[in-house]
Symmetry: C2
């Protein structure tokens, strides 16, 4: 079964939930009419389903290969597919027209990125990180740097990487040792070892632009002495032609549980030539532009792998004849019934749908805030959108990847024994998706970012606004009897999220360990409430369509899946609230040596 | 970090919770004094940690190899380790002395099996399935069959397999096609293809005894026409010496996500010579002896992999210096604090401990029922024990493997990025453990067995007895203020399990889809209640030790972990109850074609 990009879902969200045509006066949105977007998404669907998806299993089985000369060979077909990707202009979709991009809203680009991540997550990481490097240089680079790098990153002619991690330094960037020494000519000599560098070396593009965190000689220790550098694989001339090979090489490839087609490199910088981006010792601020974008992207990957896993499992279930319905044969002329007759198989598949459809809505809804934060003329709208982006990024990354992995596991379960063999795609989906809980900050780090940084920022403005927006929606809609099931459920979840928020404000400030102990459950409570909000929005839109006489079963099915969410997913809120309110005393009193 | 068999936990359970010396008058238990058992477990710990565990990563990396002559080569070292295992007599531990076994209680054997499964699950499957074949022949075989096969299976000189699955026939054995034709000399000619046969071919032992389900020519269709046959790889002479090679060969090896060291074979039977076990068309009853034993064994595997994963993660966390405690540096002279200072890391590790310790108790507690069912002179005790075995087997298999896999995933999370690389053991634990949710009946099948078969059997006698036993414990102990936290929690969980049971009795009979829809949540609710019971028993025992002046911190830590269970795991009962009570209407009304 081939992956089918969910264009119908995308268009429903862009039109019925987000109504993106209302923003036609904003830059980029003028070109984003429903009709144009529909054409773009259909073309992206064809490209990803036909060109990229067939390479997914190949990439998993072959992996990447490191040659003795430190070059890296990607799996068969990746090179040709990457060329086709660049030629079709897909990387440029969301880039600024000033740099050769098409300037489409981020929310439209997100739909295309989802398809790429579902079709072949490992392959999708090369252009995905390139876009992140583009955004970082666009945010922090000099005019010359922008002119040199942005057009080539926007088009995908060159790819980008982020060089953060070192063996002793992952989450804790303050421990970073890679050093930068001024060369006297405005450049720096960068020396140090970086690990887990996705796309650090490969054969897809003519140049690779490494964004490297390093400490300039004499800079302060900790995170206040970290600068960001551009270290290109080949040093470009001013006209973009390639000059000397820089002394940054791939010293090893990591063997990993999944994403085998993505080259995860040990990068050795040996007095490599680097150019400072922005100010000395202020590198983390720029890197966080790339990181925040990457975090949303990882949340999307979690969802995208789960979507692909769900689709494959549903197709398997339709065809697999085994056993009989508990209520009597449904396929009496066949040797057995399809396993779709079993309530527990349906439970797993509908759990997936209930999370996937609302998770996608939450991602798109938030990505639109990103567009508004950048493009809206009204300062108040921009600020609110920026607040939301900050608040919701860790929720989307952490919650959607936790649930995405669980969906991949449930999807494998639908297959029975076949799922555990490498003959089907379930294993690869499960293995590939597992990294999304870890990279760009583990989900524990996301949860801590949420409770420790985002929640209290500006006196809790972001979360209060979010809770208030839900209140306003419930107040406006709760009179609608058809929607009442959804508004009641949303109000209940929101009340619990509010209670959890209050608990954190009361207990987390006096004892930060309480915040840490509550963080993951709070993040899940937040995710559940966000999804309940999305289900209410989607139910409202579906009911409106049906009231207007639209008989497409899409809408009735949407309501059923929403009901399933309320019945079978949302009851978890109470458990998360009870757990977070249990505090940190037991956790912290357990003696370290007894672990 | 090497795996450390948890002998201290085992002895606590056997002595303080199960008090196995009280059964000294039963066969086998006379040799199971605490002292003897302690010595056995220490010896098993040394053997598994030093001989078996070091082969775990080797097995994963090399896997098994199929030669053109259909022989299978196991990973380096497996053959020597298997020889050492047999020479040391470990396979014979739980076998009947009549067949050369040591006759020790199953509950003691279980502790040793846990070590084997933690040390190297793939390796442990060869002797594990051999014991299952032993049990099936002991239950259903003729005297001649017993005399010929049991001593050699008990010792491990020969290994055993179960040949059930065919491509069109997994859960639904009624679809089985492998056929058996009487040869006229009392034997049968068996022809058909079996898939996913663990240990179907290998180089560890001189002979392999396949137990094969097949349909005798002219037998009824469906499950009422299935017979069980012994199909040995080499046809033994009456004295046990090996005769002709039988025509059953390994036609292929499955590529799998995990347990690479276990040879998962496609077995082609081409008029192979087989001997009927028991009566014609009654093969499933005998096979279920092996299957039920295997199901408990798989629950144990889920726990065992999680134990190994937990241990490795805890060791990593102790050594990994990264970041600072939220409450200020705890290792001010070092570059950073150990990540054990973080509440969320502790949460993951203590979640694991809370499930592992009570899950092990529940397994042991149930395995002791198995001993009592076989060995107790009192008919009432035997019946009650047998009821419990039937009721709890699906719970242990389904609940412990679901939670075991989640623990493996959380353990990987503790590592951060390192966990996803194949340099550490986290990936293998996660991949190996994943099969436990699937084989010997998927966890969905376990849940259905629980609600569809076990719950209602004999008017619900087993579950009513179990709930009554909890009531009696709570009534007897709730006056103890130190224990009150545990008895209150247990009473609360039991009330919810009872409510769920009543719901099923009221709604599952009228509409079986309600039972199917509720099954997985009911199984989890049952597992949680069982673990709450075990925590109450363990807390009581720990408090008694402390009251008697024992200052071993083991007991105080036990109480802390039990508290963690109540605060952080048990709140899930409410969600499971709410989900199961939502019924099947939404699930079943979703159109099949819309999946």
């Amino acid at each position: 079964m081939t992956y089918q990009p969910p264009v119908r879902e995308h268009l429903f969200l862009l039109r019925d939930i987000l109504a993106i045509e209302q923003y036609a006066t904003l830059p980029g949105f003028a070109d984003a009419s429903y009709e144009t977007v529909g054409q773009i998404l259909e073309a992206a669907a064809t490209f990803n389903a036909e060109v990229i998806a067939p390479l997914n299993a190949v990439g998993d089985k072959q992996g990447c290969r490191l040659n003795p000369d430190h070059s890296v060979v990607t799996p068969d077909g990746f090179k040709e597919a990457y060329r086709a990707l660049v030629e079709a202009g897909w990387p440029a979709l969301g880039a600024d027209p000033a740099w050769g991009g098409q300037g489409l809203p981020a929310v439209v680009n997100l739909a295309v990125s989802e398809m790429a991540s579902s079709a072949n997550m490992a392959f999708g990481m090369y252009p995905g990180l390139t876009h992140g490097a583009y955004s970082a240089i666009e945010y922090g680079g000099s005019d010359d740097q922008k002119a040199l790098y942005l057009p080539r990153l926007a088009s995908g002619q060159w790819t980008g990487t982020m060089n953060l991690t070192e063996p002793q330094c992952g989450t804790d960037l303050g421990l970073l040792r890679t050093k930068a020494v001024p060369a006297g000519d405005g450049t720096y000599r960068i020396t140090g070892q970086k690990i887990w560098i996705s796309g650090g070396e490969h054969d897809l593009a003519e140049n690779i632009v490494h964004l490297v965190l390093a400490r300039i000689e004499g800079a302060p220790g900790g995170t206040r002495g970290i600068s960001l550098f551009i270290v290109p694989k080949f040093i470009p001339n001013a006209d973009g032609s390639l000059g000397a090979r820089n002394s940054v090489i791939c010293a090893g490839l990591e063997k990993k549980m999944g994403i085998h087609g993505s080259a995860t490199c040990v990068m050795a910088h040996d007095e490599a030539t680097g150019w400072l981006i922005g100010e000395e010792n202020r590198g983390l601020a720029v890197m966080f532009v790339m990181m925040n974008e990457a975090r949303i992207g990882v949340g999307l990957q979690g969802l995208a792998q789960a979507e692909a896993a769900y689709q494959a499992a549903a197709a398997f279930a339709r065809d697999r004849l085994q056993g009989r319905a508990l209520t009597g044969p449904k396929n009496p002329d066949g040797p057995a019934d399809s396993i779709l007759v079993h309530p527990d198989v349906r439970r797993m598949l509908l759990d997936a749908r209930a999370i996937l459809e609302a998770g996608r809505a939450f991602l798109f809804w938030t990505a639109l805030r990103g567009d508004l934060a950048h493009r809206h003329p009204d300062e108040a709208v921009r600020q609110r959108a920026e607040d939301y982006m900050g608040l919701l990024t860790p929720v989307l990354k952490g919650y959607l990847t936790d649930r995405g992995f669980a969906i991949c596991s449930d999807s494998m379960q639908v297959y029975g024994g076949s799922g555990f063999t490498e003959t089907f795609s379930a294993s690869q989906s499960l293995r590939d998706s597992r990294i999304t809980l870890i990279y760009e900050g583990t989900n524990g780090v996301q949860a801590l970012d949420l409770v420790g940084r985002k929640l209290g920022a500006k006196g809790g403005r972001a979360v209060m606004t979010f809770l208030g927006e839900i209140d306003a929606f419930v107040a406006a809609e709760s009179a609608d009897p058809d929607l009442k099931r959804f508004t009641d459920a949303l109000a209940g979840a929101k009340a619990q999220l509010q209670q959890g928020t209050m608990w954190l404000m009361q207990n987390g400030l006096t004892n930060p360990d309480n915040a840490g102990a509550a963080s993951t459950d709070y993040m899940h409570l937040f995710g559940l409430t966000g999804l309940a909000f999305m289900w209410a929005l989607m139910a409202k839109a579906a009911l409106a369509r049906m009231a207007a006489g639209d008989t497409d079963p899409f809408y009735a099915n949407k309501l059923l899946i929403g009901r399933h969410f309320i019945e079978r997913i949302l009851p978890l809120t109470g458990a998360h609230l009870a757990k977070l309110e249990s505090g940190s005393a037991t956790l912290m009193s357990f003696p370290s040596e007894a672990f």
